[in-house]
Structures are given as C-alpha cells and as structure tokens.
C-alpha cells in the first residue's frame, strides 16, 4: 500500500474499500421477492459494473465470489429468522462471527409477528446458606429474601425494514441478612436497616439495565439506555469471635 498521507485527501465521494471496516459504514438493505414463484430453478442475478452472475439463494451459506475489475466480492446467504439476507462484502465474514441479534432471531424461526422476544420473570421467596465448621457447628447463616429477576428482550421489525432490539434486565433483592450463630449478644452481623422493620417498602438492592440497538445506527451498535443500582442503608456488626471462627476454617 502507498503512504497513508496521500489517501487522507480523498473524501466523501470515492472511498477506498480497504480503508473501512463494517462498523464504519452504513448500508441500505433492499427487500427482494421472487417475481414468479412457479419456477423450479429460481436464481438471483447480481450485476456489478456490467458483469452479471447468477446465484441460487434458496440455501443459506457462502456462495461463489463475484469477481469484477480485478476485485473479489464475497456473497453469503444468511437466515435472520425473519427472512433470508443476501450479503455482499469486500472481505469474507469469519466463521462463527454471528451477531447476537442474528443468533437470537434465528432462534425464533420465521414468524408472522412483526416483533419477537422473550419475557421471563422469576421470583424466589428466599435462599438460605449456612457456613459450618469442622465440628460441625453453624457459624453464620446467610439469608436472602425475596429475589425477583426479570429479563425482557424484544426484536422489532420497523417499517423501513431494519431490526431494532430492546433489552431490559431487572434484579431486586428485598433483604440480605447474615446471622451470627455463635453468640447471642449480637445475633445479626449484616442486614439492611429497613430489613429489621416489618413493613418495608423498598428493596435492599435494585439493579436495572436497559439497552437498545438499531441496525441503522451502526456506528453505535449498542446503546445502554440505563443502568441503575440502588442500595439501601445497611447495618454491619461484627465481633471478633466470628472472624476467628471463619479464619480457622481456612487453616
């Protein structure tokens, strides 16, 4: 390649294809439907600079490259789950390089819906975990109350034919409490302050992440709309006995 200084002068109209990677460019996908469905041998003709080449696009996978003007273009048919896409690239796509959108979309298969997605909600009343020494004697007891977890994903086909992804993740934990099972003097090692009161309203930990991505805005492929983490006031009370007991387990 010649010096880099020279090609800085080239601007907007004529681009050197080797200078740009896919996240720097924007494409305008065009819908295609067979004009006559009754043909057994349906082929698509691509024409670049007067040269024509015919392709069977009924099967997915890599197709014969298109050579024109001493350049080679790589043709591949992929399945998005919504439709098949014929991609024409200057460099071949690496194997296994599948965007999360394609992976997700192919899971759904062809559907009549304009949007597809996943909405999962899980709730646990509580989880308890005991730390026991060799005796065996219970040292501490960790309890997590009311865990609710939800994940929401949606891929929508907007009118222009682009796909838009939306993802939201929520995690709420009402209270975490660690009990000291060795002494009766300070039975609670750790808890949220509100956790001690009976009618609490706000969960101890709240995590919320939402992100969205749009095919058209390829320069910022994924946008994280919000990350929210809320932790309520807490109380920590440790006596030396419990520390030495835990340390002794490791010896």
């Amino acid at each position: 390649m010649t010096g880099d200084q020279g090609d800085e002068s080239e601007d907007s109209l004529e681009y050197d294809e080797d200078d740009y990677e896919e996240n720097e460019i924007k494409t305008t996908p065009v819908p295609f439907v067979w004009d006559d469905q009754t043909y057994d041998d349906k082929k698509l003709v691509l024409k670049i600079n007067g040269k024509k080449q015919s392709y069977d696009i009924s099967t997915i996978g890599k197709k014969a490259p298109f050579s024109v003007d001493k350049k080679q273009y790589y043709i591949e048919v992929i399945s998005t789950g919504y439709f098949r896409e014929v991609e024409i690239r200057k460099t071949p796509k690496k194997d296994g390089e599948v965007s999360s959108r394609d992976k997700f979309a192919s899971m759904i298969f062809a559907s009549l819906e304009r949007s597809n997605g996943l909405d999962l909600k899980a709730k646990f009343l509580g989880i308890g975990l005991s730390v026991v020494d060799f005796e065996p004697k219970e040292l501490i007891y960790l309890s997590i109350f009311k865990i609710s977890f939800s994940i929401f994903r949606e891929t929508t086909l907007i009118d222009t034919g682009e796909l838009e992804d939306q993802e939201e993740l929520n995690l709420n934990i009402d209270n975490i409490q660690i009990d000291n099972m060795m002494s009766l003097d300070s039975p609670i090692v750790f808890t949220s302050e509100e956790g001690l009161s009976l009618n609490k309203e706000t969960p101890f930990i709240q995590i919320k992440v939402s992100k969205s991505s749009n095919e058209q805005k390829q320069q910022s492929n994924v946008k994280i709309d919000a990350i929210q983490l809320k932790i309520q006031t807490m109380m920590l009370e440790v006596d030396t006995g419990i520390i030495s007991a835990i340390v002794s387990i490791h010896k």
Partner: protein
C-alpha cells in the same frame, strides 16, 4: 368422474381482488371483495401439474363484478405472476397498483434510496412499508399467499398483506449493485442497491485509523514475540 379439492380464496388483503386461471383458454374472472371468501374451481383443469391462478387489483373504472374489463383487453402487467394453489406453501406475489401509477414512474429508484438514507434526520420517509407500491418495487403491491388446509378436503388460499419480505439484499461494498430474478418470461422487477456509505466524520475516521494502526502494531509485536 374426477374428484377435485374445494378451493376457497380468502381475501384479507385490504382491497378487492380479481382472480383468474393462468391459462390461455380462460375467459372468466372472479371478483373477491375484501374480507370475504369465494369458492373457486379451475375453468380448464389439466391433468398436469401446471394449474395456476393469478390475481390483480380492480382498475379505477371497475367497481364491481358487473363492470369488469374483459380479460382479452387487459395489459399483462396488471396481473400477478401465476402461482400454484395445489401444494401447501407460503409465498408472495406482486400486483400492479392502481394508486400513484404510472405518474411517478419517471422518478428513479435511486431517489428512494437517497430519501431513505436522509430519513434519519428528517422524517420524509417515502417507503412507509416495503410491500406498498413505491419506486423501490416499480410501484407493485406485494401480497402474501398462504395455501393451507384444515381437513384436506378444502384448500384455503389466503391473501394478506405481508410483514416480512422473502429476502433482503444488503450491500456492504462501495459498488452499485443491480439484481433481479434470472430467466423469467413474465414481469421482472429490476432492483438497485446503493453503495454503502461511510458514517464517521473525517476526524473520527483519523482517530479510528490511529487506533486501528496501534492495534495492528500490537498484533505484529505479539506475533514476533517482542
């Protein structure tokens, strides 16, 4: 005596449609009002496998079954391509649209692309829906055809508006690409894919290049073990 299945054509396409058999001997056309269904029988059923039908939208002068233009006087382009209703399938066909046709045909497909790419800032989006008539598809209207049956005795041909195209062509190169269906006798739509465009500003591009070169230098160092 032959036993033939009962074909029921269901029109959910949002407008009345006219159906006929795709056969030279055929003289009859059948009007199917929107949101209704019609029992259909082939006029000249052959023993072979090519029993096809085709559809069109009523012309501006046609308002009901009684004032339909005679089959022989119709332009070939008004019809959809012929299609098979004997096998269960799901596909799409295009028909000539009566709206905006052919007044805007002088404008090129390229205009649509330019307007589309400009649409991120302005909301002058011409192509509201890819299946609606636009410059992109030579002002043809796409319809989805679903051939199905519940009990094997009646075959339903359901005509609806499609939501997804069958294919999409995405051009990541900086070349102009034309594409169309190969070796076809009837109506063929030539489509046009504009070259990809660079989104980053010049400043961002230079930064990117410095970053990229730095990365490749690191890669070389790693390869030679320095």
């Amino acid at each position: 005596m032959t036993f033939v299945p009962r074909y029921v054509i269901v029109n959910q396409a949002g407008k009345p449609l006219i159906v006929t058999q795709a056969n030279e001997k055929t003289t009859k056309q059948h009007w199917v009002e929107y949101k209704t269904s019609m029992v259909y029988y082939f006029e000249n059923k052959s023993s072979g496998s090519d029993n096809f039908i085709k559809i069109r939208q009523p012309l501006a002068t046609e308002h009901s079954e009684s004032d339909m233009v005679d089959l022989s006087q119709l332009d070939k382009d008004v019809w959809s391509s012929r299609f098979d209703i004997e096998n269960y399938a799901d596909f799409q066909v295009s028909i000539m649209s009566q709206q905006d046709y052919p007044n805007h045909l002088s404008q090129t497909i390229q205009d649509v692309h330019i307007n589309r790419s400009a649409s991120s800032t302005s909301n002058a989006l011409i192509v509201s829906n890819w299946h609606e008539p636009s410059k992109l598809n030579n002002f043809r209207q796409y319809l989805k055809v679903t051939v199905t049956s519940e009990d094997e005795a009646t075959i339903y041909i359901i005509l609806t508006k499609p939501t997804m195209p069958e294919y999409r062509v995405n051009n990541y190169t900086f070349r102009n690409i034309d594409f169309y269906m190969d070796k076809i006798k009837g109506y063929r739509i030539h489509r046009y894919c504009l070259p990809a465009t660079v989104v980053k500003s010049k400043l961002e591009r230079i930064n990117y290049r410095i970053h990229r070169d730095g990365r490749s230098r690191r890669r070389i160092r790693r390869l030679v073990g320095v």
